[in-house]
């Protein structure tokens, strides 16, 4: 046995190092001070001081989604912990692996009286608060259990369907000394992982796919998590099946591939929305069939037999009735399905379906009707794609900016499109960009923002400048809360209420006030120049792009309607 005498805080850091944690995003305070004291002089873990705990959590998620590793954030008790909640909820909805460490008032101790439950200063029952938005949470009550808690937490966060795990650390547990032993053991008898595909289901699915006349693949975020993009491409090529993604699946399939349809949904690509309704077999991989993706369920792929590959058994039949469920790791399942299907398939070139797919793509492509010189979101995003390498990472805020990005910016690689899908958190994109840049310092990271969203977390300019984490923010500045304004325009008879941002701040001066670079553009040429300046420089840059406040995102599937009822002149 290898026992070492150390404090709980030291045990925590050693455990984090053993998990290969190189970065923690956080803000300190009284109840987490012993951990920060132990961090002082630590050479292996870089601490990045966020300016708001919500952003520490978003940055941890950006780090996680860019790298595939767990991201770590840290806050003090009470308000520090509650400020993390939006970030934790965001990670939960988008199945991102983050570890949230929070300080807590003392549970007991020689010099302190027992405080938990006594409404001590800055006490918040953070575990009670986050139960519904974490995969699991821990509160160590003794120092020796810290290593195994940390091991378990990382294992839970990163395996199966990933998600956030919170560790709440009473202050006395951080500061007291005990004999600690480190192991790599995971002890979780109740944690059920079903990664191995069922052979019978695979061959049923292969039969169905081999006979399909109009097969379509729907790829969700699970494909990215599982690292199954290569298998997805092979599957599509084998079946000559078009691939639509969900919003979260964007990047799982290269959007410049001839069989790519872009994403489906309320503001999905029109060809994807149309074709999914005409398919006879739907192969859905790593998706939870969110309402924003499916729209009205009755008209969602009504004639298709449905195969669902999914690691989370609880997603099977939750929203959509499935004919063949395959509860497994997406990569393993696709590998097996490829072999099984290729044995049964008689390949037919140039089928009717392929013709339909080609025609739909040509007629319904949102990229078609170009007025390439106008400073409108479509042209800006197409230009941006041309200027950025395939490996560049895009984050977005929430609203029209996000939906335009999904429609017009073609993601070519997994983990290069990072956006708040499930929770739709305004303010996510900028701190997530910071986190992504820390994870991938050699890559360009660009946040496509709305003015409303950027104002929500813009204070992280201070963090990005001080910590030297250069990212680019493109503010599509329409002076309104655009997406909500669009709803009021289309669904509430233009009765605008509380969507006008009035005189928005001068984003160029704002950037400069923080010591960042600010640029304003009024033409596509200026935009090109600004992007080059921003991405070649070594400083965070905010590019202010004034645009009309009347732009709509089209198509639009109004709430309650089905995907085929998409509206708008697209």
């Amino acid at each position: 046995m290898n026992m070492t005498q150390m404090s709980g805080a030291e045990a925590l850091l050693e455990s984090l190092e053993r998990q290969k944690v190189d970065t923690v995003f956080g803000i300190l305070g009284g109840a987490i001070l012993p951990v920060y004291d132990a961090l002082c002089g630590n050479k292996k873990i870089r601490h990045i001081l966020a300016r708001h705990e919500q952003c520490a959590a978003h940055a941890a998620e950006g780090y996680a989604r860019a790298s595939g590793k767990a991201g770590v954030c840290m806050a003090t008790s009470g308000p520090g912990a509650t400020n993390l909640v939006t970030g934790i909820a965001n990670a939960y909805m988008d199945s991102s692996p983050i570890i949230a460490l929070t300080g807590q008032v003392p549970s007991s101790g020689a010099n302190t009286s027992y405080m938990i439950g006594k409404d001590a200063f800055q006490e918040a029952d953070i575990i009670g608060i986050v139960t519904a938005v974490t995969k699991y949470s821990y509160q160590p009550r003794s120092i020796p259990e810290i290593p195994s808690i940390v091991n378990n937490a990382f294992y839970i966060a990163t395996t199966g369907r990933p998600g956030p795990v919170l560790i709440d650390l009473p202050k006395n547990i951080q500061s007291e000394i005990a004999d600690v032993e480190f192991t790599n053991k995971i002890s979780l008898r109740g944690y059920k992982l079903s990664t191995e595909p069922n052979q019978t289901r695979i061959s049923e699915a292969a039969n169905l796919l081999a006979k399909a006349e109009r097969p379509i693949i729907l790829a969700g975020g699970g494909v990215i998590t599982a690292g199954a993009s290569d298998e997805l491409i092979q599957m599509s090529d084998l079946l000559m099946a078009p691939v639509a993604t969900t919003f979260m699946g964007k990047g799982s399939f290269p959007e410049n591939h001839p069989l790519s349809l872009g994403s489906i949904g309320m503001h999905g690509n029109p060809a994807a929305n149309k074709l999914i309704g005409e398919s006879d077999v739907l192969l859905a991989v790593g998706t939870r069939f969110s309402d924003r993706a499916t729209a009205n369920l009755d008209s969602f792929a009504p004639n298709a037999k449905k195969i669902h590959i999914e690691i989370d058994n609880a997603e099977i039949n939750k929203n959509i009735e499935i004919d063949i469920p395959i509860v497994a790791d997406a990569k393993k399942a696709l590998k097996m399905l490829l072999i099984a299907t290729s044995k049964k398939l008689q390949k037919a070139e140039g089928t009717m379906w392929n013709k339909m797919v080609k025609e739909a793509k040509e007629q319904l492509s949102p990229l078609l009707k170009e007025r390439p010189k106008d400073v409108i979101p479509k042209n800006l995003l197409i230009t941006l794609r041309k200027l950025l390498p395939a490996s560049a990472i895009i984050t977005t805020e929430v609203g029209q900016n996000q939906m335009w990005s999904a429609l017009y910016f073609k993601a070519l690689q997994p983990r290069t499109f990072i956006s708040s899908g499930g929770l739709g958190t305004m303010g996510f994109g900028f701190p997530a960009a910071i986190g992504a840049k820390v994870a991938c310092p050699e890559r360009q990271v660009v946040d496509i923002a709305g003015d409303g969203s950027f104002i929500m977390t813009e204070q992280e300019l201070a963090c990005s400048v001080a910590e030297n984490i250069p990212v680019t923010v493109i503010v599509l500045n329409n002076s309104v809360l655009g997406m909500v304004a669009q709803w009021q325009r289309t669904l509430y008879k233009r009765r605008y209420m509380a969507v006008n941002l009035g005189k928005t701040p001068d984003f160029v001066k704002l950037a400069e006030a923080y010591g960042a670079q600010g640029l304003r553009i009024n033409s596509i040429e200026e935009f090109e120049k600004a992007i080059k300046t921003a991405t070649t420089g070594n400083i965070t840059t905010v590019i202010d792009v004034p645009i009309s406040s009347e732009n709509d995102v089209v198509p639009f599937v109004p709430p309650g309607c089905g995907l085929p009822q998409q509206r708008g002149d697209y």
Binding site: T131, Y136, A314
Partner: protein, 170 residues
Amino acid sequence: METGKTKVISVLVENKPGVLHTISNLFRRRNFNIESITVGPTEQADIARMTITVNEDEKTIDQIVKQVAKQIDVLRVGELEEGNFVMRELSLIKVKVESSKERSDIINFAEVFRGRIIDVSTDSLIIEITGTPDKIDAFLNLMKNFGIIELARTGITALSRGVKSIRIDG
């Protein structure tokens, strides 16, 4: 809201703090209706059994079982197969007694229902009765005529019959 018959879900969980909160929070958050929930230790001290009764349709029950199974502190979960389990509830009923005639009537009723008198005072009796919820309801109906002063019901607990078991090694 009646949507069908009461279904019983048996859950083996880690016997530690916070688990009941996780499960009840899950039901609230997912909009599943709990009729009753009981918890107690099992033959293994570190494992507790939760017995949850719900009144939901088949599709919802499927979701409940899957969502509960997903919880990390849940070791086993299953719906008890209709007609193939036994369930019991225990109830303590304090009944008003105004005359010795009433006293003997109540004692007679209790005997018919295999209840036991566990406390006697000059103007009340406490009866302990165990059985299916139907049986307890029927008995309570009779007692209403005398006047129920206080009532405590445990909620349902249940086990599968015979060899079919929800065990962590099974």
